[in-house]
């Protein structure tokens, strides 16, 4: 009986891990892809080895310049609507709870990480948004090379966006050339 129970535990834990992989793969299979300019730094994490933190142009939003909501606080779930602007994509609207529809736009889901400044009505002027695409794991010791490329303004990321607005890094580019493609194996 205990053997059967252990097998059930193995099945449950394996299913949880498999779900992580398959869910990510389903996101990467999305046909909606946006290209974003990035500027990384290189911290280290006890659990994750070396990785670079990717800052996007859309990570910091000037709320006065965007359509949608401007009253938001830390922890709010927001949808940032992106439209193509030459090679990269830029933010044109932000709204809490649901996407702000713009023709040709793709809404990326994120969470407000912090808000700064306040106008006369107490509404924030800028907001920092985390999209869950800020970490890119690299082989040990190569983080600084990628960071140098980013400093030179050469780095960009292709982000696959699923129907719920969740983003996943699909590919990394240096000077427009793809040097990494995310796949299941």
């Amino acid at each position: 009986m205990m053997i059967l129970r252990i097998l059930v535990v193995v099945a449950l834990q394996t299913a949880a891990l498999a779900y992580m992989i398959l869910d990510r793969q389903a996101m990467l299979n999305s046909s909606r892809v946006v290209t974003l300019k990035v500027v990384p730094v290189d911290p280290s994490d006890m659990f994750r080895g070396d990785y670079v933190t990717l800052n996007y142009a859309i990570s910091r939003l000037d709320l006065a310049q965007l359509d949608g909501d401007d009253a938001m606080t830390y922890g709010d779930t927001v949808f940032v609507t992106l439209v193509r602007d030459a090679e990269a994509w830029k933010a044109v609207a932000v709204r809490r709870g649901r996407p702000f529809e713009v023709e040709g736009g793709i809404a990326l889901k994120g969470k407000i990480d912090s808000v700064d400044g306040a106008d006369a009505g107490g509404r924030p002027k800028t907001a920092r948004v985390a999209y869950g695409i800020e970490s890119y794991f690299v082989p040990q010791g190569t983080g600084t090379e990628i960071e140098a490329e980013a400093r030179a303004g050469d780095l960009s990321a292709d982000i696959a966006v699923d129907a719920q607005g969740r983003g996943a890094i699909k590919a990394m580019r240096s000077k427009g050339r793809v040097f990494y493609v995310e796949g299941i194996f």
């Binding site: 205990m2 129970r5 252990i6 834990q13 949880a16 992580m20 992989i21 695409i133 970490s135 996943a168």
Partner: protein
């Protein structure tokens, strides 16, 4: 589940009953397991095996990390899944060959590797969204193993991971009172109780205390109360919990005893810390006053209810009223009076420590006696080194305090002798 002192006594009695032929030898294990104990002591081979798998888990993490860059994704997945499956396969092998205890150690290894796999899969696929979710998933995997196998080591792991998850949510993401932890904690605590595992109950209590401590600021943000008001939650609530838990039968219910002990520990520590709160001039809110009144009534009501059953004495009633009154008074007085509250609340803390010591001695409760002794030591050291700027003040305080304590001791001894002397003639007349 029965408390340890009951089990110790039962084991001694069983040996006597078996030697006298009152109880058959073969019933020993069944009797002991019915009260949540076993005839044997802790097995050192199992402890070694658990330590060993922890080291193997650390070794596996380091091995994967060392070779990570050279591995293809498919190789990584084979290593990650394969190592976890291998751990559980060994657990099954040991269980099937009649060494279930060693098998349990490898279940723990499987749980550890499940967590390692979550982090390495997240790394492999660049999954970085809200990392406390990864800790929660690991904890749920451990909880599933704890409940299904069942595994005590997995339950302990689940409780530790639950604490880590709540820490990440509150400290790294500024979560406004991490309530979901309570559901997770309740599942762990219920499982510990169902498994009849006393250390699990202790760990559950510690996990809850940890959660309460790390949510201090969250509670403050949520309720908008001042430091002192928030700290009184940690006094009134455990005092009420302790008072109510004492109403349950002590020998028959180890859970009530354990809950009572931890509640008392928490209350004693926070009462001693009360005067450390910031001297903010926060006007007490109506909500806080209602809260303080309800929990004070609960504590005092439980003490009154227990007095008829000799669970509580008049001294306990006075102590409960004293704690509630001085705690509530502090919130009103903290702003206007500032540092002048330090001395009276030091004396108040000493009174409560002495009451606690007396109650522990009355019920022969070693936990309370030890806790009170440690509390007295901490109180003495703090008072000696921190409170007085002048040596004369210090000398007067300790001398007067010491004389009063010795006088109290002599007074109590005199009362005891008079009561014994009165009882003897009455017994003689009855014979």
């Amino acid at each position: 589940m029965r408390p340890p002192f009951y089990i110790r006594q039962l084991k001694q009695d069983l040996e006597v009953w078996i030697s006298k032929g009152l109880v058959p030898e073969e019933s020993r294990e069944a009797i002991l397991s019915s009260v949540g104990a076993s005839a044997g002591g802790r097995r050192v081979d199992v402890i070694f095996a658990i330590f060993g798998v922890i080291l193997i888990g650390a070794g596996a993490m380091s091995f994967v990390a060392a070779n990570w860059a050279e591995m293809e994704k498919l190789t990584r997945l084979i290593v990650l899944f394969g190592s976890m499956w291998a751990a559980y396969a060994v657990a099954i092998w040991f269980t099937a060959s009649g060494r279930a205890a060693i098998g349990q150690a490898f279940v723990l290894l499987g749980v550890i590797l499940f967590g390692v796999n979550i982090w390495y899969i997240a790394q492999t696929y660049n999954i970085s969204a809200h990392y406390p979710d990864g800790t929660l998933l690991w904890g749920l995997g451990a909880l599933a193993a704890a409940a299904l196998v069942p595994s005590r080591a997995a339950l302990a792991t689940a409780l530790v991971l639950g604490g880590l998850w709540s820490w990440q949510e509150t400290q790294d993401f500024g979560h406004l009172l991490h309530v979901p932890f309570l559901a997770y904690w309740a599942a762990c605590a219920a499982l510990a109780w169902y498994m009849n595992w006393r250390p699990g109950i202790h760990l559950s209590a510690l996990a809850l205390i940890f959660w309460l401590a790390i949510n201090f600021e969250s509670l403050q943000r949520l309720l908008g109360w001042g430091d002192a008001e928030i700290l009184t939650i940690y006094i009134f609530a455990p005092l009420a919990l302790w008072s109510i838990s004492q109403l349950f039968e002590r020998d028959a219910n180890g859970l009530a005893l354990t809950v009572g002990h931890y509640a008392f520990f928490f209350f004693l520590v926070t009462y001693a810390l009360l005067h450390h709160t910031d001297m903010d001039k926060h006007t007490p809110s109506v909500a806080w006053m209602g809260f303080a009144a309800v929990l004070s009534l609960a504590s005092i009501g439980a003490v009154l209810a227990g007095m008829s059953r000799n669970i509580f004495s008049v001294i306990d009633l006075v102590a409960a009223v004293f704690v509630c009154a001085t705690t509530a008074a502090y919130v009103f007085a903290v702003g206007p009076t500032g540092d002048r509250l330090d001395l009276p609340y030091r004396v108040g803390a000493l009174i409560i420590i002495l009451w606690s010591l007396g109650r522990g001695a009355r019920f022969d409760d070693r936990f309370v006696i030890n806790l009170s002794t440690v509390a007295f030591g901490a109180w003495f050291l703090y008072t000696y080194f921190e409170m007085f700027s002048g040596l004369m003040d210090q000398a007067v305080f300790f001398t007067v305090g010491g004389i009063l304590l010795v006088a109290l001791s002599l007074g109590l001894e005199g009362i005891r002798r008079r009561l014994v002397a009165r009882a003897k003639p009455a017994q003689g007349a009855a014979q």
